[in-house]
Symmetry: C2
Subunit: 163 residues, 2 copies
């Protein structure tokens, strides 16, 4: 067990789990091997401090996104109250990369974005008593919707039709 | 995708991940098969409502524990400020069951207890600027500590020696 102020083995494990990541995904984020990640979580190797910091930073970014989005929804509901809201998430990395590239530098994996979305859903329920549904983007259905309606690019509008 | 107000496939998946559980563990909690859980998360089967409720209740219990413990630590620090605190967690289900049986009815798996501990650590950092370390119970070291010091049952005191 580390005596410094860094994360110890079980903390590394629960940080990873709370982000919704597998050991393989953490390995890829840090150019380490899956065996390394397992060793960090077993306490037989210490996780590199830059990687600890990277995962903690990602968790902070997610918390900030939860805060900002929940605030945004609170504002929205002051003008236009409704009890349900749809929030698009991405079922695969390919769709996330294609449709949501602006998040890739801060939240590189679709799992991280979806984890943020889940926390937003929880926070909206708890603080605002608003039901947010996570709607997994269905690219074919979305294209058909845009072709049918002539709608401009708006995943949020499509998602609302899925409730 | 479900049209009702229950959890849809991706929500079931991220609820499970946020609790730190595997699909096998969710299957065991609900007397379903692992294949069932995979089908719920793929959207090819709907998760039974009682099980949805059970997982959401567990998440609520964890949030309540986070709130109560963070409040308790805030009180403690008013009287006796210190910058670091140890919080015992359980590396295996056997140790959790043996040493922490009072939690089994509300949080049956050590992973759920440890997920709560991780969230407590985060909340204490964020709200109180207090560093909480999760200390995995080492039963042999704990027994040796009690034999050496003649200390009565206090995992918290032992954990503090591990910082």
């Amino acid at each position: 067990m580390s005596k410094n102020t860094g994360l110890n083995a079980i903390e590394m494990q629960y940080l990873r789990l709370s982000l919704g990541l597998t050991t393989e995904q953490v390995a890829n984020l840090s150019a380490a091997s899956n065996e390394d990640v397992l060793a960090w979580e077993a306490g037989t190797q210490e996780a590199p401090v830059p990687l600890q910091k990277k995962l903690l930073d990602i968790d902070d970014i997610i918390e900030m996104q939860v805060l900002n989005t929940t605030d945004g929804i609170e504002e929205l509901f002051k003008k236009e109250p409704k009890r349900r809201l749809a929030f698009v998430v991405y079922p695969t990395q390919a769709l996330y990369t294609q449709y949501n590239p602006e998040f890739l530098s801060s939240l590189p994996l679709t799992e991280l974005y979806n984890t943020a979305a889940w926390r937003i859903k929880k926070e909206c329920k708890l603080l605002l008593e608003v039901d947010v549904s996570l709607v997994a983007l269905d690219a074919e259905a979305y294209k058909a919707y845009r072709a049918d309606t002539g709608a401009s690019e708006s995943r949020a509008k499509w998602a609302a039709t899925q409730l």
